[in-house]
Symmetry: C2
Subunit: 251 residues, 2 copies
């Protein structure tokens, strides 16, 4: 036993580190096939199972993907660039466009949607300043790109505020929820986005179809109207391998 | 074997999920002691080793911390709220304040710093528009709060631009790097921050003193001067358990 740092990190993770470095250097390009477990094992002098675990560490992180019978390939999926500030500008949703269209050319679609009147979790009720027994309209959606689930979002709005509007329907119409809030005299004038990183819960990983060992970005957006009232709280869960968040602003 | 989703997730992670849910509900508060492995094992009908792995999953994620001989406690560290836009406003660094003072009352300190003239990585050279053989001033720093490492940052600036200024010294003086760039006629007028999440490399985890199983947030900040020139690229690695990123902006 040599001791020291090298021996503390499991061998399969050391091999995974070397493969990652090779990908970052460009030795393997997006879409390239990585060496298989039967090639890696003799190369590193390890068991085939160890080589397999190294490759699985890469697929778990979303850096590579396994294709049945064909091998393990460097991830070719180009992450979504999400422009935080430009996409929420009023001239986006004000003109009847979806805020998702401000992100880029590849359109996100919603493949699962549920809209319900609910008693929201305590922290949401507090953020929306709801009294005891007051309900929220909860809009839960799953977003996919090229069939790949990339984000879950649950948006909460005070039910009394949006009752009778298209916000309570699956299809909110041109410009979406923010255009409808504007119709009601409560269009957002200011946003806050709070971002954290963590590992997904079992349910999040299952719904996003991703490994529970790959991180998610948690984003909580608060929308304020001109009277400083919180009119929406949107809790989002983003697959970290699918997104780059991008904020541009003046000094 | 029952099959189905429940049996796919390892038992220790199911127990960890239940403990996390209890923490989120507030059954256990920050600083509270969690049940030990000897209490959890009979409660869930599992081996002590399985209960120990469940607790370790929580400490790895940064939700709890182990204190030698005393047990495992719900994390009491209050994450740093980093206000992306306000902190970089010119009236911060323009007035000679550190941009870190815009975050909150608890001051971050730098406990490791190195300043070097380097040939930067290719992607940095491209972003800074450096020609072949042109060098950068690389400022690497580790930030700590209450003795806890929370962030690594390496800032790159064109060496020819900053040569002879305090930017090439460990102490950049009042207002820091941005105030010195302004002295040189290249003060930043616009910023871009790009954020991703991933697991740390072995080196990042070691330098931040955190578990390699806890995610980091990777942030890349680009600073532009009035001529649209990129005057700085800052690559940051943030412990995800230590930070909430916060962006506020108008619609």
């Amino acid at each position: 036993m040599a001791g020291g740092k090298g021996s503390e990190r499991p061998r399969y993770l050391q091999i995974a580190d070397e493969l990652k470095a090779a990908i970052e250097r460009g030795d393997y390009r997006p879409g390239d096939r990585l060496p298989g477990e039967n090639a890696l094992a003799p190369q590193y002098g390890v068991a085939v199972m160890t080589a397999r675990r190294a490759l699985r560490a890469l697929t778990n992180e979303g850096l590579a993907e396994s294709r049945k019978g064909a091998g393990v390939f460097v991830q070719a999926f180009r992450p979504i660039r999400r422009r935080g500030i430009q996409r929420l500008a009023r001239d986006q949703w004000g003109a009847g466009k979806s805020i998702w269209s401000a992100d880029e050319d590849r359109p996100l679609t919603v493949d699962q949607v549920s809209v319900q009147e609910v008693v929201p979790p305590t922290h949401i009720a507090e953020m929306l300043d709801l009294g005891a027994g007051e309900t929220a309209c909860a809009r839960s959606r799953r977003f996919v790109l090229d069939g790949r689930p990339v984000m879950l979002a649950t948006s909460y709005l005070p039910y009394a505020l949006v009752e009778g509007s298209a916000i309570t329907q699956a299809d909110t119409g041109p410009g979406g929820t923010y255009a409808r809030l504007a119709d009601l005299g409560h269009g957002p004038v200011r946003f806050r986005e709070e971002i954290r990183g963590r590992l997904p819960t079992a349910e999040e990983a299952a719904t996003l179809g991703m490994s529970p060992e790959r991180p998610v970005l948690k984003m909580c957006r608060t929308a304020f109207d001109a009277q400083q009232r919180v009119v929406e709280v949107n809790e989002m869960t983003l697959d970290s391998a699918s997104y780059v968040l991008d904020y541009e602003f003046d000094a």
